[in-house]
């Protein structure tokens, strides 16, 4: 894993190395309360990362929201089970884990749909005394619907650090990310608190 010499905000590494950082809280690449960018080079890498982080976060009394684009909801459940998340169904039933269709979240009514959903979960998390909410949202639907301007507007509307106990991991398949202009890519890398690029 390499850290950009000019900034520790861009971390590059293979998916196993990155997924391993989920195990120890102090080594986590996903800072609590941050707006983080994740660029994954294939679906296997994304699975390794979201599943290991979900496992760790659930065990730390967090609520996890996974917005999936290229994998079915059942596929995500299976991935979590294989990654060792204890009793996925119980987490789903108790509302400590949400697996949603990111395309519906971002495109059904408005691009902030996922965000609003995460905020409603945060409100419940507070009432229940949870540590916080971490959301992984795949941005792929903005590309397939050719809504890049909306995507940029949405991303730039979110701060690098939240004043609340919510953490968002905006997740991009590399093949989608590469369709952005270099300037757009750089804007996104610069705007997030930390950017994790799987190589």
């Amino acid at each position: 894993m390499t850290v950009n010499p000019y900034s520790d905000r861009i971390v590059r590494g293979n998916s196993l190395e990155i997924a391993e950082t989920a195990i120890e809280k102090k080594k986590s690449l996903i800072e609590p309360g941050s707006h983080t960018l994740l660029v994954y080079d294939d679906l296997i890498a994304f699975r390794e990362i979201y599943s290991q982080y979900s496992r760790a976060l659930l065990s730390q009394n967090e609520i996890v929201v996974i917005g999936t684009q290229y994998e079915t909801i059942n596929g995500v459940k299976n991935t979590l089970r294989l990654a060792g998340v204890d009793d996925v169904e119980r987490h789903l039933n108790e509302g400590t884990l949400f697996i949603v269709d990111a395309q519906q979240g971002y495109q059904n009514v408005e691009s902030r749909g996922m965000w609003k959903f995460a905020m409603s979960v945060l409100s419940r998390a507070k009432k229940e005394g949870r540590q916080g909410v971490t959301g992984f949202g795949d941005a792929g639907s903005f590309f397939s619907f050719e809504k890049i301007e909306e995507l940029m507007h949405y991303e730039l509307s979110l701060p690098q650090k939240y004043e609340d106990t919510i953490t968002t991991v905006c997740s991009y398949h590399l093949k989608d990310f590469e369709t952005l202009t270099e300037a757009q890519q750089q804007t996104l890398l610069d705007h997030h608190f930390k950017s994790i690029v799987v190589e």
Partner: protein, 180 residues
Amino acid sequence: MVGLLLSGNNDENFYRNNNSASSSADVILSKQDAGHHTKNTTDDGDKPLARLLIVDDEYDIVQVLKVGLQQNGFLVNAFTNPQQALQSFKSNAESYSLLLSDVRMPGLSGMQLARKVKETNPDVKVVLMTAFEIKDNEFSKVFPSTQVDGFIQKPVRIRELTDKILSIIGQSDGGSDKED
């Protein structure tokens, strides 16, 4: 692994894509499905029913679809990379009858691919498949000028898929069992 042999009802064996953790959807190929248009298979030198372009970013699904539809008499060109599929299509656009594509693919979605294919050859039929909920108006809202000829919900049986394709390209044989 392309498939796992599962025991089904009525002695019917199903080959199901078993990469459950990595797969976004299943394709089901039964022994009875394969070759139900065997008189037209390309393997025995007969003229193919039609040439199909198949695109899905899941390798296993592409393989199962390719094998099943070839056995049912189609000439199939299959890709996991939609950009490569488009390049191949453009090099011989007139020879294809139908595009069968997954909807959700990174880099170039099935909807975008469909539009580019139709721009190159408007006569090509387009069938989109997805494991997610199908909302056909979602497509027409985003790409109103691109006509999609059919949607398929995954998982799908090869036999149903074959019949759907034949009906869309206008070669329905009026009964899928008559050659079994």
